[in-house]
């Protein structure tokens, strides 16, 4: 069933896009990864202009994180003041990211920088997931826990102006979550990913947040930052394709629910291993893509 995307300016197979959303939704429900890192490259591969792919994937992330965020919120698993500060940082980050993107575009190296960022990101996620999967399957021993754990990282502790975050059990400078939110904002606007893979480890290892509120807070931040980034895209690149985003959402909101159900029914260690290997292969392919002669030597950009 073909459908015309008004902003992308081309027609696509609607069922294929819904199926992509469904797959990404199931993955996000199963593993808690956003899935933006799969959606955006696939859409670009399908022939959708990269800016439209990134902007519309961002809109999809908002919808996909609603149900998770709601569940965690009801269970009291969200540190709202902390999330609000990170979202504020995310807004700053996405505005800065948009300006950075324009600079990169003017210099002609936007594709290269985004390609490198993707390789680093996919490599990091893939490696972390692979380690988790191998630990769960008892192939390797779990990483040794540090004997005397510091409350939080010494750089974070050195920041001035400390506040008390009750839900997280922290006495922390708000500059730290502000900065982390900004990083997530830059990644969201440039890559069309939620940034959960950076938020969660940073909150655990750098801030030393109570584990109970980490995932919920991260989901609320992703929700807020992706919504803010959608607005930034709508105002600057004007590349949000509402039809494309809706098609992706139809699949992913349903897929996320099934994925969440599946986590209770099957042990996802082997699936996680498979996903980790898949992500690492994608990353490897992208590294080779930078070194191999590309399919297209020339790229066009309208100056109108």
């Amino acid at each position: 069933m073909d459908i015309y995307l008004p902003i992308a300016g081309m027609s696509v197979d609607a069922l294929l896009i819904v199926a992509l959303g469904l797959l990404v939704g199931i993955l996000s429900g199963l593993f808690g990864v956003g899935g933006g890192f799969l959606t955006t490259p696939f859409l670009i591969f399908y022939g959708i202009p990269p800016t439209v792919a990134v902007a519309s994937a961002t809109t999809q992330i908002t919808g996909a994180s609603v149900s998770g965020a709601a569940v965690h919120y009801r269970k009291g698993g969200v540190d709202l003041p902390m999330a609000a500060i990170m979202i504020a940082g995310g807004l700053v980050g996405s505005l800065g990211g948009a300006a950075l993107f324009r600079l990169l575009q003017a210099s002609g190296q936007a594709d290269l920088v985004i390609g490198f960022l993707y390789v680093i990101m996919l490599g990091a996620i893939g490696a972390l997931m692979l380690r988790d999967a191998l630990v769960a399957l008892h192939v390797i021993a779990p990483p040794a826990k540090p004997k005397s754990r510091r409350r939080h990282h010494k750089w974070i502790a050195a920041l001035p102006l400390r506040w008390r975050f009750y839900a997280s059990g922290l006495y922390l400078s708000p500059l730290a979550p502000l900065g982390l939110g900004a990083v997530a904002g830059v990644l969201t606007v440039l890559l069309g990913v939620g940034g959960g893979f950076i938020l969660v480890p940073a909150m655990i290892y750098l801030f030393g947040m109570a584990a109970r509120v980490v995932v919920g807070t991260s989901l609320v931040v992703i929700l807020g930052v992706s919504a803010a980034t959608t607005l930034v895209h709508a105002l600057t690149t004007q590349a949000v394709d509402i039809v494309l985003a809706t098609l992706l959402l139809l699949g992913s909101v349903v897929g996320a629910q099934y994925g969440a159900v599946l986590t209770h029914r099957l042990k996802p260690d082997l699936l996680r291993l498979a996903l980790a290997v898949m992500i690492l292969l994608v990353a490897l392919r992208m590294i080779l893509g930078l070194a191999w002669q590309p399919d297209e030597i020339f790229t066009l950009r309208s100056l109108a």
Binding site: I3, Y4, P6, V243
Partner: protein, 253 residues
């Protein structure tokens, strides 16, 4: 440029002066609407050649049809291998690149018109005047032009179809031009040329509007003119869909 203009004027004078054959062209539609189910369109360019006295000569004139889309300035970048990595290294500007160009004829263009005529009327992909930016050596300019035409051809936006024009009894002609779904919107011109002995005997032009309509037009205009409201609507849609799915599944699971 001026030389071309003078030549075109001269050609025009000879066209109107002589009592040569006339063209009566038409197109299957004057406006193509892009709606939600648009997957491309086929445009039929057809018409008749009217010879003086109604006598068709032994070797009837040939018909060439060209469908050309709106032009836009383009910045083109070229990747080169630097330190083992392919990155954008060189760039070139073109001031008027047609978003679409399709030529159909009974025989290859080179066999129908001489080089000068082809250049004047921009017949054939090799003769497009793209107004390249000044100050670059001709070799580089050629490289970029070839790359541009190759890229647009593979996207289905540029084509030359020798054998694309069918002529019945030397009088009626018809040509079908396929328009892919990713065409740029705007005013297109359908040009029909009557050629003989390497020269253009008559020419006629029709304008065709290709534009989004209905919901597609509404969305495009909203994104351009009310970006804030459009962005808020996008966020609202995604929140609502996420919420509906969560509420629906909470009852069932």
């Amino acid at each position: 440029m001026i030389a071309r203009l003078v030549l075109a004027l001269l050609a025009f004078a000879t066209l109107t002066g002589a009592a040569g054959p006339k063209l009566v062209p038409d197109v299957s539609s004057r406006a193509i609407e892009i709606r939600y189910s648009f997957t491309g369109a086929e445009l039929l360019l057809f018409g008749a050649v009217v010879y003086p006295g109604g006598r068709v000569p032994e070797t009837p004139a040939d018909v060439l049809v060209v469908l050309k889309g709106p032009t836009e300035p383009i910045l083109m970048r070229e990747k080169q291998k630097i330190a083992g990595i392919w990155m954008n290294a060189d760039s070139h500007r073109f001031r008027s690149v047609p978003g679409f160009y399709a030529l159909a004829s009974a025989k290859p263009v080179g066999e129908l018109v001489d080089e000068r005529t082809a250049a004047i009327y921009e017949l054939g992909l090799a003769n497009l005047s793209l107004s390249p930016g000044a100050g670059s050596e001709p070799e580089k300019q050629q490289r970029f032009e070839a790359g541009l035409i190759d890229l647009k051809t593979r996207l289905g936006l540029y084509s030359e179809q020798p054998g694309g024009v069918e002529v019945t009894d030397g009088v009626l002609y018809r040509a079908t031009i396929a328009i892919p779904s990713r065409v740029p919107v705007g005013t297109y011109t359908a040009e029909t040329f009557l050629v003989a002995d390497g020269r253009v005997l008559a020419a006629a032009t029709r304008d065709i509007e290709i534009g989004k309509s209905g919901f597609e037009r509404f969305v495009t205009l909203a994104a351009e003119r009310q970006p804030l409201l459009y962005g808020l609507a996008a966020v609202l849609i995604s929140l609502t869909l996420g919420w509906i799915a969560a509420a629906f599944f909470k009852k069932r699971v």
